[in-house]
């Protein structure tokens, strides 16, 4: 499936900003089942001071500064992404993936092989997922029994989070502590992903945070509104001997073509879509819109790159 994605972030300030430095994690990365056909980034006001690099986790990072006075910052990315995830998804349900038990996985992780070593960093505590409570561990242990398949345990964990937690936007912010989310059982996709990651790490298995988009479908018979989609987040677990397997606890499913990956890290902190330091007084208003639809349809509608 070929998708066209337009992601716009706009900050409006009530007083002029004299300059700012920013980092955007916004260019989608190439990964299993996902290719990038084109990518274009527009920043207004325009700037010449822009550079791109790969970060520690292999994500595409764009750094830029705006050195002229401005009252609005607008960052628009337009990508054409090819998603062919069905076969990847199918591989998760094979015996090769499902047969590995929790205790086998824990044992395999003792090795120092390159891919295992690479994955193991995702067991350790991270900026936003640290000092997790016993509650998290107890919650995880219900599903992660030693002789159980890691895949099945994780699948169940995803289902439980989906059932036990309520999707309430505005209840949490990026800095709401995990313990509070666990206590209140409310939050948004980031929170659910991070709860799952904390659970998996408490067992001693590697889990990472995935930041991206999800295409939403309009109610049957209705026309899809432009800009009605959203940034999304989910998680992946590393199953030694098989590899990384993605789960989306917000939608209670293994990701599909509609889940477009931008990047990953230990938690949200590693992959914020746009962050920055601004110099000036006054406050700002933020508006974000994401539009995802099949490229052919986008072309027809003239939502064009």
């Amino acid at each position: 499936m070929v998708f066209s994605i337009i992601h716009t972030t706009r900050y409006r300030y009530n007083a002029p900003i004299s300059f700012c430095h920013n980092i955007a994690t916004i260019r989608p990365r190439v990964c299993t089942g996902q290719e990038i056909q084109s990518f274009d980034l527009q920043i207004s006001p325009q700037t010449l001071d822009l550079s791109e690099r790969l970060d520690f986790f292999g994500n595409n990072i764009t750094r830029f500064s705006i050195q002229q006075q401005h009252q609005e910052l607008k960052v628009t990315s337009k990508s054409i992404i090819i998603r062919q995830y069905a076969s990847v998804k199918a591989s998760f349900f094979t015996d090769q993936c499902k047969k590995i038990t929790v205790s086998e996985a824990l044992f395999s992780l003792k090795s120092n092989d390159n891919d295992i070593l690479e994955a193991k960093q995702f067991i350790l505590e991270s900026i936003l997922i640290r000092n997790t409570s016993d509650k998290i561990k107890q919650y995880a242990e219900v599903s992660f029994l030693p002789n159980r398949s890691v895949f099945e345990a994780t699948y169940e964990l995803m289902q439980r989070i989906y059932t036990d937690f309520d999707f309430v936007s505005g209840f949490t912010t990026v800095s709401t502590p995990l313990s509070e989310v666990m206590e209140e059982k409310k939050g948004v996709c980031q929170d659910f992903a991070q709860i799952a990651i904390a659970c998996i790490r408490s067992i001693g298995l590697p889990a990472r945070y995935i930041s991206g988009y999800i295409e939403t479908l309009p109610p049957p018979g209705k026309q899809k509104l432009i800009g009605a989609d959203a940034s999304h987040a989910w998680f992946a677990i590393f199953i030694p001997g098989f590899g990384w397997v993605d789960f989306d606890p917000t939608n209670n499913q293994i990701p599909e073509d509609q889940h477009i990956v931008v990047g990953w890290g230990r938690d949200y902190y590693d992959v914020p879509p746009l962050k920055g330091v601004v110099f000036g007084s006054g406050s700002s208003k933020l508006k974000v819109s994401v539009d995802i639809r099949p490229a052919s349809e986008a072309q027809k509608l003239n939502i064009i790159l």
Partner: protein, 855 residues
């Protein structure tokens, strides 16, 4: 027995335990290495030592050597202590220690390169990955950054202590922003003077060569090989515990001392905001912790660093010493693996033993530690602050359970270490030598392909006999570390920084705008303190003539003067009252508060506190005389604080103000002769004169705009002239009865009298013209326009016009009042415009999204 009676007396009760002592054998013989020093101490004797210790204390206090302690009840700036008895070590033994240190810092440099590079140590199983990935000093943002310097670790400090076997052990590694070199230098310079006769004879090795190399290191670190790279010392500011040292090193090396908001990143380079504009910076000697260096990529809530700095580092457009990210080497989790790492990189054994350490990330070690918690000291691998060190034996049951739980949850974050076996060293206390536990800090810097070890160091000893903790924060004391030889050294003895760059940042153009701002405010506060003091003194002198307080408010003259106090100090309602609040009636209580209440904005005590702060922030520009006077002022205020105030008679307060005035004047004299115009004295004068001008106006408004009965008017005029220190000049100039015309003529309009407003304003005008930042030669800058307008208003009026009375209100001098109001606004606008132009800190640094995560 070599000891003569004197030293016997000194060591009467020396031995308490059976520890290893540096100077004495267990049967109280002086060890051979200490013989030379001991002989000299014997000759000096207890009395002389006590007197020289006093000299040291005095000198340190004179030079303002301090060590700040966060949240210290005694206030900031705890005095630094240096004990007269140095710690001596034979050159031969030091040579061995140095070799060991060189090997260690060399290894740590290789480890640092590997951690942020290929990570072979982890891949090859030499080092468990958790020791690196689990350490909060491992900054993933710094991964794969390439540096131009040969060594990634340019500066290194190591805490050493002597084990029971008599060997010197490594206890801690310091790499992030190692402190102590400045204190070591200051200790040497002080002890070297007080003990010059002793030091010369025991052949103490000099530090000059080392600091010369240190300076060369900074120069050569510049990414562009230019003759005079721009080097700065980056400090977190006056509240940092080792701020004294930052200022000391900056002024010793001759580089500007700057804070994060003096710097900015533009176009891929790092710039310093100076008075003239932006100046490119090549090398940063950093004293700010890693995580705080760049709020864009590292800690978002940091205001100590510079947004975008890491990317300048990536582009190799600036060198930071030590590089951001080197904090990962301050890692007690590395210790157990150091022998294997030494084999891996160098095929060598470790030359210096290290403190026994068990890393809990290994199952066997963790079990052992948990079973023997009582025996050990437990700490996190990435923290060595006092709060996170647990002495197993002192933990309560609950604390122990909590710690066990933490270790079980994240075992890789913890190590257990053996308690340090301190050796003892003699400390001169109360006329006796007393054994104290000691730790010593040694320093290494990169030089060409090798490292150079300071032939000296910083020795710290415990505050009491038998104390386990040795730390300056706990109020310990320090010693000079003397490496001594059998013969005089060959090296040149003078402290010369040979190839010092010709460029030094002392020009006005290069003045960091922060320093400029502090100088400006220093001028304003000193002017305000002095003027307010004088006005209060004059008022009190009038008060004491009245016998009983009840009569004071009935006296019209006193009433006007007291209202003047409120107006000049801006401490309304006070004696004036406001629309909502009545004027106070208890004269004594209000005056006490206006003079002594530190918390009341506008009070003299408050102004003095602001004065203290603004001066402390520019302490790198001070002479030692300034420090002395400054301390006397502080002491006198401290002595009078609290309950003492209520018991003071008006006369004693007058005496106190008298002293304060004299000291402020002495201080001002010293400022003018010790700070160069190019260092920003111009800004100091601008601030000072603006404040003089503003307060002269405010005095005139309070006392002279309303006409009173003749006899009262005369007394008010006299009081005005006294507070303005102009009565004598008046008598000299006019030789007549005091009239309002002449008083105004002298204090506002005279063009030759230094205290007249016209003179002050014209002086400000001249000074402002010298400031950089002139855009158009033919046009006045914004601030110049205001001051020009003020000047012309003064020139266009006359004393006759000013004394005219209003036709509707026959006691009101309307022309005078209007002029004073306009002038007050103009001077205020001038100040505002100067701030806007030069002190470019009004731009607040904020996060795009307000979030803050602890790194």
């Amino acid at each position: 027995m070599q000891n003569n009676n004197a030293i016997d007396l000194l060591v009467e009760q020396y031995f308490g335990g059976n520890k290893y002592d540096e100077m004495f054998t267990p049967d109280m013989h002086v060890k051979p290495g200490w013989k030379a020093l001991s002989d000299k101490l014997n000759v000096l004797g207890s009395k002389e030592l006590a007197s020289r210790q006093k000299d040291i204390d005095w000198m340190l206090s004179e030079n303002g050597v301090t060590y700040n302690v966060y949240n210290d009840p005694k206030g900031l700036n705890r005095p630094w202590n240096l004990n007269i008895i140095p710690f001596v070590i034979q050159e031969k033994e030091w040579q061995q220690v140095s070799e060991g240190l060189k090997q260690r810092v060399h290894l740590l440099d290789l480890i640092l390169k590997d951690i942020y590079g290929k990570r072979e140590l982890i891949k090859n199983g030499i080092l468990p990955y958790e020791v690196v990935y689990g350490h909060r000093g491992f900054l993933r943002q710094c991964d794969q950054i390439k540096y131009k310097t040969n060594k990634q670790l340019s500066i290194y400090a190591s805490d050493l202590s002597r084990g029971p076997d008599g060997r010197i052990w490594v206890v801690n590694d310091r790499t992030q922003a190692p402190s102590g070199m400045g204190y070591a230098l200051e200790n040497r310079s002080t002890a070297g003077r007080v003990l010059s006769d002793v030091y010369g004879k025991i052949h103490v090795r000099k530090l000059s060569g080392f600091f010369n190399d240190f300076n060369q290191l900074l120069i050569k670190a510049s990414p562009k090989q230019i003759e005079c790279p721009n080097i700065i010392v980056l400090t977190p500011g006056p509240h940092n515990e080792t701020y004294f040292e930052h200022a000391y090193l900056a002024s010793f090396l001759g580089y500007p001392l700057v804070r994060g908001n003096d710097l900015v990143v533009r176009d891929g380079f790092l710039w310093m905001k100076s008075l003239k504009g932006l100046k490119r910076i090549d090398v940063v000697l950093k004293r700010v912790d890693d995580a705080f260096m760049d709020p864009l990529e590292l800690r978002e809530d940091s205001h100590l660093g510079v947004a975008g700095l890491l990317d300048v580092v990536r582009k190799q457009n600036v060198t930071i010493i030590n590089p951001i990210g080197s904090g990962v080497i301050e890692n007690s989790g590395l210790i157990p693996f150091m022998p294997a790492i030494a084999k891996y990189f160098l095929e060598e054994e470790l030359k210096l033993p290290q403190i026994a350490t068990w890393w809990c990330g290994q199952e066997k070690e963790k079990k052992y530690v948990l079973n023997n918690l009582n025996k050990y000291v437990i700490k996190r691998i990435d923290r060595s602050s006092r709060e996170t060190i647990f002495f197993g034996e002192f933990l309560t049951k609950d604390e122990k359970n909590l710690l066990e739980k933490k270790i079980n949850r994240e075992p890789y974050l913890y190590v257990a270490q053996e308690k340090i076996n301190f050796s003892t060293v003699p400390n001169f206390t109360d006329g006796q030598l007393e054994p104290r536990n000691m730790v010593c800090r040694a320093f290494a810097i990169a030089k060409d392909d090798d490292y150079k070890i300071m032939p000296g160091g910083l020795v710290r000893v415990s505050p009491e006999r038998d104390s386990l903790r040795v730390s300056n924060q706990r109020g310990g004391t320090s010693k000079d570390l003397c490496v001594i030889g059998d013969h005089p050294a060959k090296e040149s003895s003078k402290l010369i920084l040979s190839e010092r760059p010709k460029y030094t940042a002392s020009g006005l153009d290069d003045l960091p705008s922060h320093t400029a701002e502090n100088l400006y405010w220093a001028g304003r506060y000193v002017g305000r303190s002095l003027t307010v003091c004088r006005f209060l003194r004059m008022t009190l002198k009038q008060l004491v003539k009245v016998e009983q307080d009840e009569y004071i408010l009935e006296n019209e003259k006193l009433n006007i003067l007291l209202k003047g106090v409120t107006q000049i100090t801006n401490t309304f309602p006070g004696f004036v009252g406001t629309e909502k609040k009545k004027a106070v009636t208890d004269v004594r209580v209000e005056l006490e508060s206006v003079i002594f209440d530190k918390t009341r904005i506008g009070s003299l005590a408050n102004t003095m506190a602001m004065f203290n702060n603004s001066y402390y922030a520019i302490r790198n520009l001070w002479s030692s005389d300034m420090w002395r006077v400054f301390k006397i002022i502080q002491k006198s205020w401290a002595s009078i604080e609290g309950d003492g105030v209520a018991n003071l008679s008006y006369n004693s307060i007058i005496k106190f103000l008298d002293q304060n005035i004299t000291r402020i004047i002495a201080f001002m004299g010293l400022i003018e002769e010790s700070i160069l115009v190019n260092q920003g004295l111009l800004l100091y004068f601008t601030g000072l004169n603006l404040e003089y001008g503003i307060l002269t106006i405010s005095k005139c408004r309070a006392l002279l705009t309303v006409q009173t009965q003749d006899n009262v008017a005369y007394e008010i005029l006299e009081a005005f002239l006294i507070s303005h220190e102009s009565l004598n000049i008046y008598r000299y100039s006019y030789r007549s009865y005091i009239t309002i015309e002449n008083a105004l003529g002298l204090t506002l309009l005279d063009t030759t009298y230094g205290r007249s407003l016209t003179y002050i304003v014209s002086r400000i005008q001249k000074d402002l013209a010298k400031l950089p930042n002139k855009i158009n030669k033919n046009e006045l800058s914004s601030y110049e326009k205001y001051i020009f307008e003020a000047y012309s208003k003064l020139k266009l009026t006359s004393k006759e016009k000013l004394t005219e009375l209003d036709t509707d209100n026959v006691v009101y001098r309307k022309n005078l009042a209007i002029l004073l109001r306009d002038l007050s606004d103009l001077l205020f606008n001038t100040s505002q415009a100067i701030s806007d132009t030069y002190f470019n800190h009004t731009l607040k640094q904020k996060q795009l999204n307000s979030q803050s995560f602890p790194l």
